[in-house]
Subunit: 401 residues, 2 copies
Amino acid sequence: MLPAILSDRLAHVPASPIRKLAPYANEAKKQGVHVYHLNIGDPDIKTSEVMLEVLRTWNKNPIAYSQSQGEPAFIDAINWYYHECGYPFITQKNIQVTTGGSEAISMALFSVANAGDEVIVFEPLYANYNSYAAINQVQFVSIETMISNGFHLPKRNEIVKKITKKTKAIFICTPNNPTGTVYTKREMDMLVAIVKAHGLFLLSDEVYREFVYDGTKHVSLLSYMQEIPEQAIVLDSLSKRYSLCGARLGMLVSLNTVLMQGVLRIAQGRLSSGLVDQLMASKLTKTPKSYLEGIQKEYEKRRNILYEGLKHIPGVTIPKPEGAFYTIVGLPVRDAEDFAKYLLTTFRDENETVMVAPASGFYATPGKGKNEIRIAYVLNVDALKRSMEILKKALVCYGSR
Amino acid sequence: MLPAILSDRLAHVPASPIRKLAPYANEAKKQGVHVYHLNIGDPDIKTSEVMLEVLRTWNKNPIAYSQSQGEPAFIDAINWYYHECGYPFITQKNIQVTTGGSEAISMALFSVANAGDEVIVFEPLYANYNSYAAINQVQFVSIETMISNGFHLPKRNEIVKKITKKTKAIFICTPNNPTGTVYTKREMDMLVAIVKAHGLFLLSDEVYREFVYDGTKHVSLLSYMQEIPEQAIVLDSLSKRYSLCGARLGMLVSLNTVLMQGVLRIAQGRLSSGLVDQLMASKLTKTPKSYLEGIQKEYEKRRNILYEGLKHIPGVTIPKPEGAFYTIVGLPVRDAEDFAKYLLTTFRDENETVMVAPASGFYATPGKGKNEIRIAYVLNVDALKRSMEILKKALVCYGSR
């Protein structure tokens, strides 16, 4: 009997740095310890009642396939949303519904690059991007951004010099997970100029579009879409915007007709996204504007508490997060993963502790971000204050072991 | 300004032969014509009320991420189901919940083969398999099965001679979509012997496990799983079994620990399957056994009507379908796709017509199955009888144009 050998590429799919310490957290919880989760962007904000009402009054039977492009009522709702955002040129045929923003990213990488082709990204970057790159066998060429200037983009020539014959796209996330950076109009202008000059696609993950603070305005790739209709691809999701993480719904938006036909063929292969989730989410048109404004205000408040709480801790580096609900924090430790484990296995304050994500998994380059963590500020104000207090005490104890 | 070029691999993702004639069907419907859908396996059987009750009494808010392996209550329910089926050795850690059976197939192909590696399949095969092969850049090596012997497997040496250094797996579907064939114990024994001798994985899509007729017993790869624990991978879905097509839920089942760790990493990348769908479907444990038995009886009745209705039409070839709810039918036409279009665009009987799927899209080899169609018998008895009548009349009219 001969053994069967798994593919090499399976071994290259990375584990999630956000979830990999989960066994330690589960162990702590078993011991009765309360764990504040700063590691994962799973918001506590309530889903709007008008959406849940779709479940409570459900009368469709059977639960049949939806259409591969998306349930028509849901596509109409998304189309309406983009018009409300100020992009009336978007029509239903520019929208492909995806099973979570994750699928939109995976479809985009598959569509713009062949196996072995390169895509430029800026690190630190959302850890799961590395999974989609591995699954689609795309080579990320990463350009480092620095905590010292709030992770904003480097100068044009720093980006251009990374372009090779194999480069097919530049892939950004704004507002950024994990850094909280919101790219300025100047930065977006620069990226658009580069992709025009070099014949590249520009992929923009804008899942946190509404989450910008201090009165800043988000600059969307949508506002450049008519200028570079064949090259612009917007990746989006309802998970954070409407607190629908568990309803796996995202979208890929583009004016490129051949691309949209191609992603529809990919979508036909997996038949459809969930019918119940789509019909529930199509009520976004009935969700009052105050819902999104309330979320934005709540996160700005949390951002302030986090920032004030952290910046006074000795040795901690934190740029003021401009958007999303994440930030990368530099710690006065050598190995942030060891500190994260220490929090879960050893440190207790009144039988409570916090869970954070080591930032090294958010870099594409091995060895980078070793003394950094990513924090998701998705807890309510009181829990967040308490978490900062625990983190401060833990750093002292960790340093004096 | 330079143009950006889409990847070659996107162009190789095929369009769905099941859905590609949809524009013609939509046009007919706009004209007020009633179209009987024999093209797609979207059953009219009702989802069980105990599942819909989960929606109607929904009280979780927000709709948060589920776990990447699957929602624990749902994994427990699936585990229970496999125990009920007679496989008590299956435990929760052998189960990865997937977003539809589609995702399970895609994960399996990615995991057993590198890009360019070969997987042996038997044609005709479920058309979407070609999509997963294209997306995962796996080379299908297809072995033809014949309508004349009900699409059963060829002799061992016919299969073995297709094995090369690049062959990583044999991939089957039983009960078969699109042929309705149920592989016998002898055939399954042969496949297991081949993968043992040649160090291959054996992937078995058993979505239609309960749909077998004439008192035949389905022979599952699960019954060989302890014999070839590292090599057996079962791909499964709730879509047809519980009439939950629109709840995107499937599973990948294996005793291979390294494989299960790998697919969990892939699953972490896309975060989770839908929470609502999983909690709804976990009520399968409360769905009475009579539900599944009732479905089996209903489809056997439909199968009989279809078989009797078709076998007496002059020039039609139809093997008696043994399982699932599909069959490949040979027609007295040269180009079945042209006939399928004719049905939608030209032929009307009392303002009604039928939609069928041309079978050529179910072959991996171009040019094969040109005079065949796939029929899904998912309509109620009366609609099915009427469809057969329309098909018979249409063949006469088409032949005498």
